[in-house]
């Protein structure tokens, strides 16, 4: 099975390097901003962590799109789970040892783990995808930033004690794992095919990221350090805007969109 495999690079309206810069800078700045604004201004600013996660998710989905369009030989979902698998190991390590530099150490260790997996995938397993090393590094880093962003929006900080008590020990980390992983893997999985377009795929990523943000907002009801209402409301707003935009892109890319009405009732159908 070769999911979405056409054996070539995917055309890009936005160059990948811009998306990398966007993901890294917006993700890291967002995580730090949410921490400092929550600490010094108001807990309401915990929603910035969710925005950081959305930026990281868009970057991750773009990287998945790039590497998966070569045809991985297996389904796209595997790479999303790999992203969060690498990301969760790196992010917990970074936060545990790093203190205030935690997110940066987490990002660096995720990049190193991703690079090693990418190199081994090409050299040992012999996948032979020219962008495997770079993409694995990007995907691991994006997965790591997604976890950091969602954790920050759940707890209002990235300091390890708060994350450990409120996110890991309570099990919400599993929610982050699945919601973040789906947000990274689903956009390309849902849009792949010959008519796949970068803007439509990335808009799905924004929409899925907004769902993860809403869930993080619901979780933050249970924590002291973070306000839930702004996260949920802003998440809902972003979700609505992204979904509307996505629908417009679908209308644009489809040959024709027609209403077929409701399914016929049993009597009508038998006539």
């Amino acid at each position: 099975m070769s999911a979405g495999g056409s054996g070539g690079g995917a055309p890009e309206a936005i160059p990948q390097n811009k998306l990398i810069a966007f993901g890294v800078i917006a993700g890291l700045v967002g995580v730090y901003l949410s921490h400092y604004l929550v600490a010094y201004v108001s807990t309401a600013f915990s929603f910035i962590g969710g925005l950081a996660a959305i930026c990281a998710i868009v970057w991750g989905a773009a990287a998945v799109r790039r590497v998966a369009s070569y045809g991985l030989g297996t389904g796209v979902p595997s790479i999303g789970m790999l992203a969060l698998g690498m990301g969760v190991v790196a992010s917990m390590f970074g936060l545990a040892v790093g203190g205030i530099a935690g997110p940066i150490i987490a990002l660096l260790s995720a990049a190193i783990i991703g690079l090693v997996i990418g190199v081994l995938a090409n050299r040992v397993i012999g996948m032979g995808l020219p962008i495997m090393e770079q993409s694995m590094t990007e995907i691991a880093s994006a997965g790591c930033l997604t976890i950091l962003g969602l954790s920050a929006s759940m707890t209002g900080t990235f300091l390890f004690d708060a994350v450990l008590n409120n996110v890991v020990a309570t099990g919400y980390i599993a929610v982050i794992f699945i919601a973040g992983g789906l947000a990274i893997l689903h956009p390309f999985n849902a849009n792949l095919g010959p008519d796949e377009k970068q803007d439509r795929t990335l808009m799905t990523a924004v929409e899925k990221g907004a769902i993860a943000m809403i869930i993080a907002g619901i979780v933050s009801i249970t924590t002291d350090g973070a306000a839930s209402a702004p996260t949920i409301l802003i998440g809902l707003f972003i979700w609505y805007m992204a979904f509307e935009q996505y629908r417009k892109y679908v209308d644009r890319d489809a040959y024709d969109v027609v209403g077929v009405g409701l399914l016929p009732t049993e009597e009508e159908g038998s006539e």
Partner: protein, 239 residues
């Protein structure tokens, strides 16, 4: 500053066990009859979903059963056995229900396209394979292979979790369990995806020619899990 060398020397046994567990998980995936999307349409032998979903389903069940056993005993063999049995039950249930669906729902006989005779039952296979397909359903050999894979994966997952939980640390029991389980899940997923790239997404079991590729995935998993185990041991041991 954390005494990295000291933590690693104190827990060197656990680093080794985590690495061994990761390698076992990686090897185990090669046994599981993964059919992917073609199998979901009964056009390839195996269970109709991806490696990661199957490995996660069986492996995480193994983690849960191993975790339950850790609460009552410290004996490593019992914990590993509990993990193995949990994962084997899960994968067997998945395969038997899948077989019912293929046999009574889709209406195809279980048949392998990779071998002419089932290595275990010696039943003829090739004449039952529908034209245009690469086999369908779960023949006996694939089922047995899948159970072996589930068992190995469960042992691997239980070994990773047992090692992480037993690292010397200042964490409270609840926090340690939470952190150890999410580390174990992360390591599990990484080691489930690596072999799935190695086998190209589908495999029938240990009789499939692709099974011979396992050393590549095992080497890769060895290096990657070794890195992850050091990272995990430092993170948990340093707290």
């Amino acid at each position: 500053m954390i005494d990295i060398a000291g933590i690693l020397i104190d827990n060197i046994l656990f680093v080794a066990l985590i690495t061994l567990g990761g390698v076992l998980i990686s090897w185990s995936v090669h046994f599981v009859p993964v059919g992917g999307a073609p199998a979901a349409m009964a056009q390839a032998t195996g269970i109709g979903t991806g490696t990661v979903q199957l490995a996660a389903g069986a492996g995480l069940t193994g983690l849960v059963t191993a975790g339950a056993m850790i609460n009552v005993t410290d004996s490593l063999p019992l914990i590993l056995a509990s993990g193995a049995v949990g994962a084997m039950i899960m994968i067997s249930v998945t395969m038997i229900v899948g077989t019912w669906v293929y046999t009574y729902g889709v209406g195809v006989p279980p048949a392998s396209a990779k071998v002419d005779y089932d290595p275990i039952t010696k039943d003829r296979q090739d004449i039952y394979v529908s034209q245009g397909t690469e086999g369908h359903g779960l023949p006996t050999v694939s089922f047995v292979s899948g159970v072996i894979g589930g068992g190995l994966g469960g042992i691997g997952g239980a070994m990773v979790y047992y090692s992480l939980v037993n690292i010397t640390t200042g964490l409270s029991a609840t926090n340690l369990m939470g952190l150890a389980s999410i580390f174990a899940v992360g390591i599990f997923f990484v080691n489930a995806v690596i072999p799935s790239y190695n086998i190209g997404g589908t495999i029938e079991g240990f009789h499939d020619p692709k099974f011979k590729r396992w050393p590549k995935a095992v080497i890769t998993s060895f290096i990657v899990t070794f890195m992850c185990s050091i990272v995990g041991v430092i993170a948990i041991g340093g707290l």
